[in-house]
């Protein structure tokens, strides 16, 4: 199956209830699982409400973290 001329979708294999799908697309098209948006949304909400105490990552053994 082809979408928009340059995105190609192929069924690679079917094994029971598992289907492997291959997607070929130009580099300028970003392909990611849409669940990632929901999971990131949940994570953002947790992050936004966490009462954190700014852990000092500079105190960790490797000093390269403090630089840059």
């Amino acid at each position: 199956m082809t979408i928009g001329g340059d995105i190609k979708i192929t069924i690679l294999s079917v094994d029971g209830d598992q289907v492997r799908i291959g997607i070929e697309a130009p580099r300028e098209v970003r392909i990611f699982r849409s669940e990632l948006i929901d999971e990131t949304g949940e994570e953002n909400q947790i992050a936004a409400k966490s009462s954190f105490d700014f852990p000092d990552l500079g105190k960790l053994p490797n000093e390269s973290i403090q630089k840059g």
């Binding site: 990632l36 994570e43 966490s50």
Partner: protein, 148 residues
């Protein structure tokens, strides 16, 4: 302007330190204006404070500090949406979750926030790299990335 913040009480912020996310952030679609605050200059973990709801503030960190080999693939759609002119104008931030036991903190390496420092526009993007995780343990990451 003076703003109310979660972690620093009321603070005066300069317009240059505020950013516009036209689509908000996933899960926080109503929050479109943010300020980047830190307790001290040079602090690794900063705070992305919402200017739309003062009780919303996300801990963020430059992922390259945690993982020097991190790859953030900015695509033409991002470049045009944020009117990015040069790679050095882009600030990359990763959202952290810091629980009470802070050694269990995680960082979202799948969805970095990119900001064009020239026009102060930002968006959260999603990377295809399967090696990256939404809940990456920060301390393990530091240990692995900075192993000599």
């Amino acid at each position: 302007m003076k703003i109310k913040t979660v972690h620093f009480g009321e603070v005066e912020i300069e317009q240059e330190k505020t950013f516009l996310f036209p689509n908000g952030l996933p899960g926080l679609e109503e929050d479109k204006r943010f300020a980047l605050l830190s307790r001290e200059e040079g602090q690794a973990i900063c705070c992305l404070q919402s200017l739309d709801h003062w009780e919303i503030a996300l801990p963020v960190i430059n992922p390259f500090h945690l993982m020097p080999t991190y790859e953030c693939n900015v695509i033409p759609d991002d470049i045009s949406a944020l009117s990015i002119e040069a790679p050095e104008d882009v600030l990359t931030l990763s959202v952290m979750v810091i629980p009470k036991e802070s050694e269990k903190m995680t960082v979202n390496l799948v969805a970095p926030i990119i900001i064009n420092l020239k026009n102060h526009m930002g968006r959260q993007i999603f990377l295809e790299n399967k090696k990256y995780e939404i809940r990456t343990p920060v301390l393990e990451l530091i240990r692995e990335s900075h192993r000599v």
